[in-house]
């Protein structure tokens, strides 16, 4: 699991709303709640028959009965800014007629250097492969 993702989940769970990882089986009975999940591997860097680095795309969903998300929209974007830097965006903003919930969906990318051990000259295996 990428470290940045673990940090992101921990930060989102500190907010004053219920935040579930990987979805809810039953919707919480509150005005505002959220979901965070890692969706799929977006790309990978391979070398020497091993996977050196992987990039994962995930999403954060916020559901709220109020148009401003009870102030949680700003809170979530601040956390994304802090943890993911520039690699996130608001993918969609929708309104559900059946439940009258507003739905924000942000997507983000985090990477994970799989073979992050030192290669002997101060850099990681991913650095050696030119991945910075």
């Amino acid at each position: 699991m990428p470290d940045d993702y673990t940090t992101l989940v921990a930060a989102l769970k500190t907010l004053d709303i219920p935040f579930a990882e990987n979805g809810w089986t039953s919707r919480p009975n509150v005005n505002t709640y959220g979901v965070v999940q890692l969706d799929f591997e977006a790309s990978a860097l391979n070398g020497d028959n091993t996977k050196l680095c992987s990039s994962y795309e995930g999403s954060v969903d916020l559901f709220s009965l109020s148009r401003d998300g009870d102030g949680m929209v700003e809170a979530v974007t601040e956390i994304l800014d802090e943890v993911c830097g520039a690699s996130w965006s608001l993918n969609s903003h929708m309104w559900e007629q059946a439940t009258r919930l507003f739905h924000w969906e942000w997507t983000f990318e985090v990477d994970d250097a799989v073979h992050d051990e030192d290669n002997g000259d101060g850099g990681t295996a991913a650095d050696a492969a030119g991945n910075g």
């Binding site: 039953s26 919707r27 919480p28 969903d61 439940t99």
Partner: protein, 147 residues
């Protein structure tokens, strides 16, 4: 010969773009086939559900298309996705097809998300670029005799 190439360049670019868009369309159809389903039930008492096989069938049934090409400053551009028109009858209701696709892709408060469109974008990207490169290379070879 060079003048002829310049005149035909927009045509070659459009042809390459068409092939690239075809790859993305194919990838999106492939990802749509992998959507997980469960028999339809109304999401009562706040419970979440998976898309029904009927909803998946609507998404799969050839609604994915390539939009009409339009010119921009750099050449031409297009989009691949669900048609803005088109409805399906689900549980006795007339529902727009893009709405069903969006509900599955982005999820709702009562349906778990399965981001098949975003997945297709990443999965097809490299192949689409390769196909477009090949199309342009073929055009250049054809017009310069491979030199």
């Amino acid at each position: 010969m060079l003048q002829g190439m310049a005149e035909n360049a927009p045509k070659a670019a459009a042809s390459a773009l068409y092939e690239g868009a075809g790859v993305m369309r194919g990838e999106m159809e492939k990802q749509a086939k992998m959507i997980r389903t469960a028999p339809f039930k109304y999401a009562s008492n706040g419970q979440t559900r998976l898309p029904s096989p009927e909803e998946k069938a609507v998404v799969e049934r050839g609604a994915i298309g390539v939009a009409k090409f339009h010119k921009d400053d750099d050449g031409c551009d297009t989009s691949v996705g669900f048609s803005n028109t088109g409805y399906a009858m689900l549980a006795g209701r007339r529902v727009p097809i893009p709405l069903i696709a969006n509900s599955i892709n982005s999820g709702t408060s009562f349906m778990q998300k399965q981001p098949f469109v975003r997945k297709a974008k990443y999965a097809g990207r490299t192949k689409a670029v390769d196909v477009m490169k090949k199309s342009i290379t073929d055009y250049l070879e054809k017009n310069t005799g491979g030199k």
